[in-house]
């Protein structure tokens, strides 16, 4: 047990941070538009996320390299630069959505946007001042606990048991472009490219070794369970109180409406949204700084302070400050579009990160006996194929919306 407690952390953090502000918005919109009809789909995404993240742990523990460095080394500089630029751009856009969520959540309590952005940046930078991975991890795990605020809220709203049970049976409520968009957004928020890079780098920074892999599997499994339970709770909350008469577009809008119906549930959604955005900003800014540090050869560990690793801190501060400024300068309607669109962009870029992961995990010279087993390859290849098909379907639905009844 003591070894598990020492090893646990990266898996839980990456999975809970996965329910970031964009994720909360996607789940809230899913519940408000389709009530409980897509719960079965969310439940399926838990094991899917586990399979993907478990591969990152193995690759990190065996090669002692982050994902960005591993791609450069294995596939050469063309694919390396493609992945790094792609990751940095997607991460930066995603952090904008985290700030959108955080500022919108706290504006419900009349806290000005500028104050939220400034405090968040100071808190995230202060967390790493000590230069100790353990301190950072403990603080983030506390934020992860706050993410479970949605679970009691789901019980308070008293959902219809029969409708809820029906949501656990796989079915699609009519195939429309809107449904496809939400399916894609849900995949995009459950498995994101930054998660692959973050998890592998976290495993390396924490110094996990091959002998810790079984504990890491439990760590990742617990995280996957947490993320699915939280997502289901949010769908239950908005499905019970906002379906079918509200056409909400964001979690903050859902929270504002819910406060008038049930002050506790509405406040829980707002606090949870802020926490989700904070967790996302912490993890995603780190994923980019770790990746850039690995490739450019800068010191890039949470076990170093600002003097020892100046670029590691400067990069993170720049990413956060520029993303925060964009949120302060852009108007609300544009920001809502960015929030949902980023999830879709992430899922279209996900196949490349997944393909590299599978190929790396099949290379005996890189991972030796820890290479993928047959069932892992079948599972991973099925996931990539599903994402490819959904991404292309989404593309076709944009070009020919009438084919899907749009």
């Amino acid at each position: 047990m003591s070894i598990f407690l020492a090893v646990a952390g990266p898996g839980i953090i990456v999975m809970i941070a996965d329910n970031d502000a964009g994720g909360i918005t996607t789940y809230a919109v899913t519940g408000a538009q389709f009530q409980y009809d897509l719960i079965w789909f969310i439940l399926l995404l838990g094991p899917v996320a586990f399979v993907v993240q478990d591969m990152c742990v193995r690759l990190g523990a065996v090669t002692k390299r982050g994902h960005a460095e591993a791609i450069f080394d294995a596939f050469g500089s063309f694919w390396g630069w493609f992945s790094l630029i792609d990751l940095t751009a997607t991460d930066w856009l995603t952090i904008i959505t985290e700030f959108i969520g955080m500022t919108a959540a706290l504006s419900i309590f009349n806290i000005p946007k500028v104050l939220t952005v400034a405090v968040v940046i100071v808190v995230i930078m202060a967390m790493v001042l000590q230069g100790r991975y353990w301190t950072w991890e403990k603080i983030v795990l506390v934020f992860c606990l706050l993410n479970f605020i949605y679970i009691p809220a789901a019980f308070i709203v008293h959902p219809s048991v029969s409708a809820l049970l029906n949501g656990f049976i796989p079915h699609l409520p009519g195939f429309t472009p809107n449904l496809l968009f939400l399916l894609m957004a849900n995949i995009g928020t459950t498995i994101a490219p930054w998660m692959i890079f973050f998890h592998q780098s976290a495993v390396v920074d924490k110094g996990l070794k091959e002998k810790h892999m079984h504990y890491s599997e439990v760590d990742t499994g617990l995280g996957a369970l947490g993320t699915v339970v939280t997502a289901t709770a949010i769908i239950i909350v908005t499905g019970a109180l906002l379906y079918p008469n509200s056409n909400i577009q964001s979690a903050a809008e859902a929270a504002s409406k819910l406060i008038t119906i049930s002050p506790y549930v509405g406040s829980a959604l707002a606090i949870g949204l802020f926490d989700a955005g904070l967790l996302g900003a912490i993890a995603i800014s780190l994923a980019s700084s770790w990746a850039l540090g690995e490739v450019f050869g800068w010191a890039h560990s949470l076990n170093t302070n600002v003097r020892q690793a100046p670029w590691f801190a400067i990069l993170r501060a720049m990413i956060l400050a520029t993303a925060g400024t964009v949120v302060l300068l852009l108007s609300g309607s544009i920001l809502v579009v960015i929030t949902l669109f980023v999830q879709v962009i992430a899922v279209t870029l996900l196949p490349s990160a997944m393909v590299f992961l599978i190929l790396l995990l099949n290379s005996e010279e890189l991972v030796g006996k820890y290479k993928n087993k047959l069932w892992q390859n079948i599972a991973a290849t099925s996931i990539v194929s599903l994402i490819l098909v959904l991404s292309l379907l989404y593309g076709v639905s944009i070009l020919f919306p009438h084919l899907f009844g749009g």
Partner: protein, 64 residues
């Protein structure tokens, strides 16, 4: 003097990128038929996605 300094500052990242390109010029993974096929599919997929996203972007701006 100033021009030299600016050139030196601007040249540093370029040199770094060249160094990275040199370091990773040869892919370490064994280029089996399966690996080559996967990378080809990935190229085709990414090209398709880029075209679709550009189309969406252009039509959105035209309508807007």
């Amino acid at each position: 003097m100033e021009t030299e300094k600016i050139r030196e500052v601007l040249g540093r990242p370029v040199r770094k990128i060249r160094e990275i390109n040199r370091r990773y010029s040869t892919p370490r993974i064994k280029m089996t038929r399966w690996v080559k096929f996967s990378l080809l599919i990935l190229r085709i997929y990414l090209l398709t996605i880029v075209i679709l996203l550009l189309y969406k972007l252009l039509t959105t701006f035209r309508i807007g």
